[in-house]
């Protein structure tokens, strides 16, 4: 199906508005962009091949490709996650990491794991893969989609026997997947600003004075920090 934003712009174009004319010019700009190398050719910085296979498969279920709008694969969410884990986020650079640690403290008191996010991914993927192998007889990536979904739901429900140090694993995976879907493309995901186009978020335009208070669809597509247009 055509994303809602493009349906809107087509109406605007038929209306012959100046905004639609601008949009037509933007579309040409988008076509001129250099295509990104295929996701399969990406060389992960942090994730091992087995971990990469898991992240590829899991994010593809968290934001699947079928139905309206792009999925995690087309928007290159796994690239985003790999880069985040390789950087300050993965290394817990900003976090308070002094002990003593009480990883099973009340959840309301926030994360108390001695592990960095990168370590939580590494150990969390391993533990979850062991669970998949024992309970479902295959690595996560090799399971059929419906079993992948039920396995992820078990992970979300904390029903896969993770140690308290790893109990943030699902929260991180879900949050990072959505971050990679919606963040500016400079961080490696949201390729082609497809997620922004899908929901109708204009990205880094950051200038909407004349649009405050108007109940009508905004006609322009997004721009990103690099100045690309979609």
């Amino acid at each position: 199906m055509t994303p809602r934003f493009l349906q809107t712009s087509r109406r605007a174009f038929l209306g012959g508005s100046a905004a639609a004319a601008a949009l037509a010019a933007l579309s040409e700009g988008a076509q001129a962009q250099q295509p990104l190398p295929p996701l399969e050719e990406y060389a992960p910085v942090f994730l091992t091949p087995a971990e990469w296979a898991f992240v590829m498969a899991a994010t593809a279920r968290i934001i699947p490709s079928d139905g309206d709008g792009p999925g995690a694969q087309e928007t290159r969410v796994p690239v985003f996650i790999d880069r985040q884990l390789a950087g300050d986020f993965g290394a817990a650079t900003d976090l308070y990491m002094q002990g003593p640690f009480t990883p099973d403290a009340d959840m309301n008191l926030g994360t108390q794991s001695p592990l960095t996010p990168a370590e939580i991914y590494r150990q969390g993927i391993a533990a979850f893969e062991t669970w998949c192998s024992n309970e479902l007889g295959a690595a996560f990536a090799d399971l059929p989609a419906d079993q992948q979904d039920s396995a992820l739901q078990a992970l979300a429900d904390d029903d896969v026997g993770l140690e308290p140090e790893l109990r943030e694993f699902w929260t991180l995976l879900l949050q990072n997947t959505k971050e990679g879907y919606f963040a500016d493309p400079r961080h490696g995901g949201n390729a082609g600003m497809q997620a922004w186009v899908y929901i109708g978020f204009p990205g880094a335009r950051a200038n909407f004075h004349e649009w405050a208070g108007r109940d009508e669809a905004y006609p322009l597509g997004p721009v990103d920090i690099a100045g690309e247009r979609a």
Partner: protein, 589 residues
């Protein structure tokens, strides 16, 4: 390694709103002033420039402008029986660091408290009887009145170029403003902002129910403005990147846009960044401060900085931490009720209802931090506490500040959190919801306080500060009352569907989701040294040359965002120092 630097007249700890205000006010007296800022230097260019700062992940999610828990955090417990755990990652609130402090990344909502909020205990006792106050509720009067502070609110609002509509000028009620507000001496310096679709829909519904909608007062300039220091603001362009971001457009009032360039021109003012104050040094008799000791990151050494006057102008939590570490005021003990430093920590009780409309385009990205229409018909001075069974109040508001997608897209109840259903939901509902929020008081209780943690330390080896806080039945009853009022309004607006999120009985404080950076108390002001940490001029009772600015002075939280009162109190204290203290240094009360 350690060094001692030449003495200054004044040392200011922290260069956010209050440090900048006190800096320029005292610079005008010709005093030699040094401000010490623990974080980095920050200016509109290069730090907030377009398009660099329009990066939701970097600043909205990874908190680029906030304090790093690795460098500075607290521990939290909900009651005295629990073992406090360190806040390892930011969540519930987001203190800033760096020049400008939280003044760069706020939304700009700039209110004046109600008259009765300054004398809450007296008001409740007079109107409803002392029995109306629960045994464990430790509310107090501020020791100042709305009338006394009015000129200082006026000063702050004109300095910061606030956009709004007066409702009460010298007792005359003005149509379109807040009819319940305390009298003000003149209108706001700038007219109200344009309003967003959601704000207009809410205002229409509220008005037709007999309520009194008015524009939320905004530190987002609606027009160009030049303030008393010659600093200039340009009109807000509704970029939709306000809270958590520095302003790209010189439109949001901040130390950078309103004070700092003017302040830096005073040759008698200087500031050092990456310089975290470790303690206030006291004279051997403890009766005065001799200056501060700070950590100079660049030199990698401790520095003793002598000064005649010490201004604590850090964020509320850090001011109280420094007082506890330095022996300023006796630490509060919740078991006995004795002691003052750390007493009456309070937060903010908020809630909201989300309304979904398939056929309305809200364009949420076209937002400003303080845009919105509010009602104060259920403010703290409009409620019969005896009849309703709680003490407190809220303003109720709708106004869209941003449409940033990672920070959250409201989805109807039952929408999956992930998978095909989630993806379909965001496509259908982004830009098609609005919310009506309540922003309410959070009162003071015997056990809610700040002290030093027995276990955890910071990078300098100092004990972390420990917060003991949980939600209390009085404030939950207040927010449940607001839920009822908001849901009536929401239903009258005929959304396709709606859902509410308010604290309910048994709610426990959760430090993970962002709630608000309105932490107050711990260095409370008052008229009795046995029950307050600072006097009504924000001067430490025990050390007359130490002044403690900021929301730590609030004896309990007001129903409003704190910055208006924080700014007014800074000017109030600055006048007292300039006119009364400097000619005759000593206790002002």
């Amino acid at each position: 390694m350690a060094r001692t630097d030449p003495k200054k007249d004044v040392v200011i700890v922290g260069l956010g709103w209050t440090g900048s205000i006190m800096g320029i006010e005292l610079a005008q007296e010709g005093l030699e002033i040094l401000a010490l800022e623990r974080g980095p230097d920050r200016a509109t260019v290069p730090d907030f420039k377009y398009p660099k700062v329009i990066d939701e992940l970097e600043y909205g999610i990874r908190f680029g402008f906030m304090q790093k828990p690795r460098n500075s955090t607290i521990t939290v417990r909900r009651n005295g029986d629990e073992v406090a755990q360190p806040m390892r990652r930011l969540g519930s609130f987001l203190p800033g660091d760096g020049v400008g402090g939280a003044g760069i990344h706020w939304n700009g909502q700039t209110w004046r408290p109600m008259e009765n909020e300054y004398r809450l205990r007296s008001y409740v006792e007079e109107e409803f009887g002392a029995d109306a106050i629960p045994e464990d509720m430790t509310i107090q009067d501020w020791g100042v009145t709305a009338e006394e502070l009015e000129p200082y609110f006026d000063r702050f609002e004109y300095m910061a170029g606030i956009s709004g509509q007066a409702g009460n000028i010298n007792g005359e009620i003005i149509e379109g403003g807040n009819p319940f507000e305390a009298p003000r001496s003149r209108d706001y310096p700038l007219p109200p902002l344009k309003q967003t679709v959601d704000a207009k829909m809410f205002a229409g519904a509220a008005k037709s129910m007999g309520y009194h909608p008015f524009p939320r007062p905004a530190a987002n300039a609606s027009e160009a403005w030049t303030n008393e220091y010659g600093m200039q603001l340009g009109p807000c362009n509704f970029c939709g990147f306000c809270e958590r971001y520095g302003c790209i457009n010189y439109s949001k009032s901040s130390p950078q846009t309103c004070i700092l360039d003017a302040l830096k021109r005073y040759p008698n003012f200087s500031y050092r960044v990456n310089s975290e104050v470790l303690r206030v040094d006291l004279a051997p008799d403890g009766q005065t401060a001799t200056g501060v000791t700070y950590w100079d990151d660049e030199a990698g050494e401790e520095v003793t900085q002598p000064a005649d006057l010490v201004i604590l102008a850090a964020y509320q939590l850090h001011n109280v931490h420094l007082m506890l570490l330095s022996g300023i005021g006796d630490p509060y003990d919740p078991r006995t009720g004795q002691g003052v430093t750390g007493k009456n920590y309070a937060y903010q009780m908020n809630g909201g209802t989300t309304l979904f409309y398939k056929d309305v385009d809200f364009n949420p990205f076209a937002g400003a931090g303080s845009v919105g229409m509010a009602i104060d018909d259920f403010a703290i001075n409009q409620i019969d506490f005896g009849a309703e069974g709680f003490i407190g109040g809220s303003y109720i508001v709708a106004g869209n500040s941003n449409g940033q997608p990672i920070r959250g897209i409201s989805l109807p109840e039952g929408t999956p959190k992930w998978g095909a259903g989630w993806k379909q939901g965001i496509g259908e509902w982004y830009g098609h919801s609005m919310s009506i929020g309540s922003h309410g008081s959070c009162l003071a209780y015997r056990d809610c306080h700040l002290d030093l943690d027995p276990t955890y330390t910071d990078r300098h080896g100092r004990p972390l500060m420990r917060m003991t806080f949980d939600w209390k039945p009085n404030d939950i009853r207040m927010t449940q009352f607001m839920k009822g009022k908001i849901e009536e309004i929401a239903q009258s607006m005929n959304p396709d569907s709606w859902q509410s999120s308010f604290k309910s009985e048994g709610a426990r404080y959760d430090i993970r989701p962002y709630q608000t950076t309105h932490n107050v108390g711990g260095a409370i002001m008052g008229t009795d040294p046995n029950t307050s940490a600072v006097n009504r001029y924000l001067q430490a009772w025990g050390q007359h040359n130490v002044f403690v600015l900021g929301a730590g002075a609030f004896p309990q939280n007001i129903q409003y965002n704190p910055t208006g009162a924080v700014g007014a109190l800074a000017y109030w204290a600055a006048r007292a120092i300039r006119e009364d203290y400097l000619p005759n240094p000593g206790p002002l009360a």
